[in-house]
């Protein structure tokens, strides 16, 4: 059936259009928020570190940009012993999860 191939071959312009749309959505987001992620990282870390000791390397911040809503994802890993220490200190007993996920 190889003689049918020229008719079935996908038009290259539509491939180009799709590749560009995906790439530019990503690049526009990266450009507009190039400063935002480091700033958020610093400030969120400072706020959390006031109450629980956190490891600077165990923090992940991601921004997913959608058409209607964007999702800000912050993952902070809190060591179990630190968590326990904080709980005892405040004399409360909420069993917090290992990682907190916040969506805005």
């Amino acid at each position: 059936m190889s003689w049918l191939m020229p008719f079935r071959r996908r038009k290259t312009a539509s491939v180009a259009r799709e590749r560009l749309q995906i790439l530019l959505t990503h690049e526009r987001g990266a450009e507009a928020h190039s400063d935002l992620i480091p700033i958020l990282r610093e400030e969120v870390l400072a706020a959390v570190a006031k109450h629980v000791p956190v490891d600077v390397d165990k923090v992940q911040i991601k921004i997913e940009r959608g058409k209607a809503v964007s999702l800000l994802e912050i993952d902070i890993e809190i060591p179990c012993d630190a968590e326990l220490a904080a709980t005892r200190r405040r004399d409360r007993a909420p069993r917090a999860t290992r990682a907190q996920r916040v969506a805005v």
Partner: protein
């Protein structure tokens, strides 16, 4: 009031200099007073494309440093008396062009011209940002090709952040000029078409310049295409684009496969 236009693209070789010369010539043919300014220090070519390469004595850097008066550096076109060229320096260091120096030249040019068209160097470095700094209007020259479209998108980001207008919180007027457009290949689905590029870049369309041998002929001759071949496809397209810049409502002409069946059969083979 004078309008400062920057012709920019990010990517090199898409037709910025050709476009600067052609828009300048078209505007001057309508009686407007036009200065075309080459910002490509060290790699100037606007003088060559305009056919004035042997008449350059002083350049943009001389004027920006106050060594000579603007009137001494401006070269009047031999064919159109309201068209002037301010060349870039070919030998001086790029850093000789300062922010204040350029601002001074732009202020003076605004006093004596209707249109100041700045031919930007390729890239996103200082030369490109200096060329766009004082612009009221940007013409983003784009080929229907992935790398050109991507670089244009990057330039749009710079226009919205690095221009004086953006710094004042105003929006710079941006237009898309699609060059080297081949309707046969676009129709066949082997080249991004006009709508694809408009969709991706979200810029209003200023014009579509068809791929044409007349463009190379014009630069061979050192005569902008609206002068060398005024009836040709690219000359008409540039002239329409110039009228749109002047605020006229000119219907968009989409380049078509003019020879019909003939080029359908033979054009494909040649392409």
């Amino acid at each position: 009031m004078a309008q400062v236009v920057v012709v920019t693209s990010g990517k090199g070789g898409v037709g910025k200099t050709t476009t600067t010369a052609a828009l300048g010539a078209s505007l001057a043919q309508s009686g407007q007073r036009v200065a075309v300014v080459d910002f490509d220090v060290g790699l100037r070519n606007l003088d060559l494309v305009m056919g004035a390469e042997r008449r350059v004595v002083y350049d943009l850097i001389y004027v920006s440093q106050g060594t000579v008066k603007l009137s001494q550096a401006l070269i009047r076109d031999k064919r159109l008396e309201t068209l002037f060229l301010l060349a870039a320096s070919q030998t001086r260091d790029k850093d000789a062009l300062t922010d204040d120096g350029v601002a001074k030249v732009m202020r003076e040019l605004r006093e004596s011209f209707d249109w100041i068209i700045c031919d930007s160097p390729a890239g996103i470095e200082r030369g490109a940002t200096l060329a766009m700094r004082h612009a009221d209007v940007a013409v983003v020259v784009t080929n229907p090709e992935v790398s050109s479209v991507r670089d244009s998108d990057r330039i749009v980001g710079l226009l919205d952040s690095k221009t004086d207008k953006a710094a004042r919180g105003e929006r710079i007027e941006k237009h898309l000029l699609l060059t080297r457009y081949d309707p046969v290949r676009a129709g066949r689905g082997d080249m991004l078409n006009v709508d694809d590029v408009i969709d991706i870049l979200s810029l209003p369309l200023l014009g579509i310049i068809p791929e044409s041998e007349e463009v190379l002929r014009a630069s061979n001759l050192g005569s902008p295409v609206p002068i060398s071949s005024p009836k040709s496809g690219p000359a008409r397209a540039y002239s329409d684009a110039a009228r749109r810049l002047m605020g006229e409502d000119v219907p968009m002409v989409f380049p078509t496969d003019r020879n019909g069946l003939f080029s359908k059969i033979f054009g494909r083979r040649a392409a």
